[in-house]
C-alpha cells in the first residue's frame, strides 16, 4: 500500500482528512436527498454552482461564496420556471441546469487562461486542499449536521407525509427550503474534493448503500456517513496506489461499496429463502 508510505506528507494527510469529512457529510445529507427524491435536483445544483465558481475565481473572491450564490440562483430559477405550471419539475430543472452550466463555460472561455482551472472545478483537485479549505469544510459540515439533528423529526415526517406534516402545523415549505439549503451547502463544500459533477455520486451512492442495510432513518444516516468516509479513505488510497484522479477514485470507491452491499443482500435473500424452504420441509416431516 503506497498510501501508508505517503502518510508523512502533509499533502496526503490533508487530502485524507478532507475526504473523510466530505464523505461523512455527503453520506448523511444524501439520506435526505433520497427521502425527498432529489437526485436530479442535486445534479442540477452541482452543475449550477459552476458559473458561480468561475465568476468568483475571475473576480478573485471566495469560490465557496460564488458557488453558494449560484446555487441560490438555481433554486429560485427552478421555482420560477416550475411556477408557470406548463412545465413539470424535471423539465424546469433541466432547463435551469443547461443554462447555468453554459453560462459557466462561457465565462470561462471569455477568460484568457481558458482551460487552466476548468477541470479542477469539474472533477475536484483534492491534493491541493489547504488548511483553510479544511476549516471551511469542518465549519459547513458542523452547521449542516446541527441543522439536520435539530430538525430531524420534522424533516423525516414532512418527507414521508407532507400533507400530514402540514396538517400537524409544521411549515413544510420552510422545511423543504432547509433541506435544499443543506444540500446546496454540501455541494459547495465538496467542490474541492470531488468537483461539481461528482458530488452527486457522493450524495446518492453511500446513502443508497446504507438504505439497503436498515430502514430506520437515524441508523441509515450514521451508516451512510460511515460509508461516505470509508469511500473517501478508499478513494485516496486507490488514487495514491495507481496514480489516478482522486475525486473520481472516491466516487468509484462509493460505487464499489454499493455493489458489495447489493451482492451481500442478494446472497442473504437467497440464503434466507432456502433456509425457510428447508425449515418448512422439516416442519412437514415432523408433523
Amino acid at each position: 500500500m503506497r498510501i501508508l508510505e505517503q502518510l508523512g506528507s502533509p499533502l496526503i494527510r490533508r487530502a485524507l482528512l478532507e475526504a473523510v469529512l466530505v464523505g461523512a457529510l455527503c453520506g448523511a445529507v444524501g439520506v435526505h436527498v433520497l427521502l425527498r427524491r432529489l437526485p436530479f435536483f442535486t445534479l442540477a445544483l452541482s452543475h449550477a454552482t459552476f458559473p458561480g465558481v468561475v465568476l468568483a475565481s475571475i473576480l478573485g473572491v471566495s469560490v465557496y461564496l460564488g458557488g453558494a450564490a449560484a446555487a441560490l440562483g438555481l433554486v429560485l430559477a427552478v421555482a420560477a420556471i416550475g411556477s408557470t405550471r406548463r412545465l413539470e419539475a424535471s423539465t424546469a430543472t433541466g432547463v435551469a441546469l443547461a443554462g447555468a452550466f453554459a453560462l459557466g463555460v462561457l465565462l470561462q472561455s471569455a477568460q484568457s487562461s481558458a482551460t487552466r482551472n476548468l477541470a479542477g472545478f469539474l472533477v475536484g483537485d483534492i491534493l491541493t486542499v489547504s488548511t483553510e479549505d479544511l476549516a471551511m469544510t469542518a465549519l459547513f459540515g458542523l452547521v449542516v449536521t446541527a441543522a439536520l439533528i435539530v430538525f430531524h423529526k420534522e424533516l423525516v415526517l414532512s418527507a414521508f407525509d407532507p400533507i400530514g406534516a402540514r396538517a400537524a402545523g409544521y411549515a413544510t415549505t420552510r422545511l423543504e427550503v432547509l433541506v435544499l439549503a443543506c444540500v446546496a451547502l454540501t455541494v459547495v463544500t465538496s467542490l474541492r474534493a470531488v468537483g461539481t459533477i461528482l458530488s452527486v455520486a457522493l450524495l446518492v451512492t453511500p446513502a443508497l448503500a446504507a438504505r439497503q442495510w436498515t430502514t430506520d432513518i437515524g441508523p441509515v444516516m450514521a451508516l451512510a456517513a460511515a460509508f461516505g468516509a470509508l469511500a473517501g479513505v478508499g478513494g485516496i488510497a486507490a488514487s495514491a496506489q495507481w496514480n489516478v484522479a482522486g475525486g473520481s477514485a472516491i466516487a468509484l470507491a462509493a460505487t464499489a461499496l454499493l455493489a458489495v452491499t447489493v451482492a451481500v443482500q442478494q446472497a442473504r435473500t437467497l440464503v434466507g429463502r432456502q433456509a425457510s424452504r428447508h425449515g418448512s420441509k422439516s416442519r412437514e416431516l415432523a408433523s
Binding site: 430543472t93 433541466g94 482551460t115 469539474l122 452527486v200
Partner: protein, 291 residues
Amino acid sequence: MVRLLLDPFGDAYMRRALVEILVLSGLAGVVSVYVLLRRLAFVGDALTHTIFPGIAIAFVVGQSLFVGALLAGLASAVLLTVATRIRRIDHDAALGVLVGAFFSLGVVVVSTQSSYTSDLTALLFGRILTVDTAEIIETTAIAVAVLIVLTLVHKEVVLRSFDPIAAEAMGYRVFLLDLLVNAVVALVVVAGVRAVGTVLVIALLVVPGAIARLVSERIGPMLVASVAAAGLCGYLGLVASYEASLNHGVRLGSGSTVVVALTIAFILTGGAAALLRRRGAGTAAPGSAVP
C-alpha cells in the same frame, strides 16, 4: 445587419460548423419533444455523462471517438432502462449512481494520460469549429436513422407517455419502447458530442422542447416549434460567438454560446407566454394536453 448575419460564413470551417449545428438542431429539436413527453430530462443528462468513459477509453487506446461514444451510449441506454425498472430502488437514485460511477470511470481513464486537463476539456465541451465533412456525414446518418425510427413508433410512444397502463394492456412492449426511446436519446448525445460536448448536449435535448411546450400543447406544432427554436438559436449562437471573438476581442466558445442563445430564447418565450396568458386570462379555459 445582413452583413453581420452572413459575413461569418465566408470561411469553409464556419460553413461546416453551421451545417453541423443545423443538422444537430433538427435532430435534437424533434427528440427534445419526446424527452419532454416522457419526462426524460434526467435520463438525457445521465446519458451525457455515461457516454464519457466510452469516449475516454477510445481516446486512450487511439480508436475512433465516435465508435467509443456509440458503444458506451447504447450500453448505458440498456443499463439505464434496466436500472429504472428495479422496484426496490428509486428511479432517480439509480440514475444518480450510474452517472457518478460512469463519469468517474471516464475521468480515471483520462487522468492516466499526461495531457489530462486539455483533453478533458475538449471531450466535455466539444469543438464545433473543427468539424470535418466525415463528421457531418456521421451526424446526418444518425439523424436520418433516428427520424425514421421515431416516425415508425410515434403513436406507440405517445400512448405510452400518456397512459403506460393502457399501453401495456393493449399488448405493447413498454420495456422495449422505453429502451428504444432511451437509445434514441443516446444517439443524439453521441451525435452532439463533438459539436457542443457531452455536458452541453443536454441543453439541446431539453430546452427546445420546453420552448415548444410554452408555445403550444399539441404535439405537431410542438415538433415544428422545437426544431425551429433549435435551428435559429444554433445559427444565432454561431454568429454571436464569431462576432464577439473576432471583432470585439471577447472569446466566446461557440457551443456554449449556442446554449446561452437557447436559454435566452426560453426566457423570452416564457415572458411572452405569461403576458399573453394574462391578457387572455378571462377568455381561454386553462387545460393541458401534455403531462
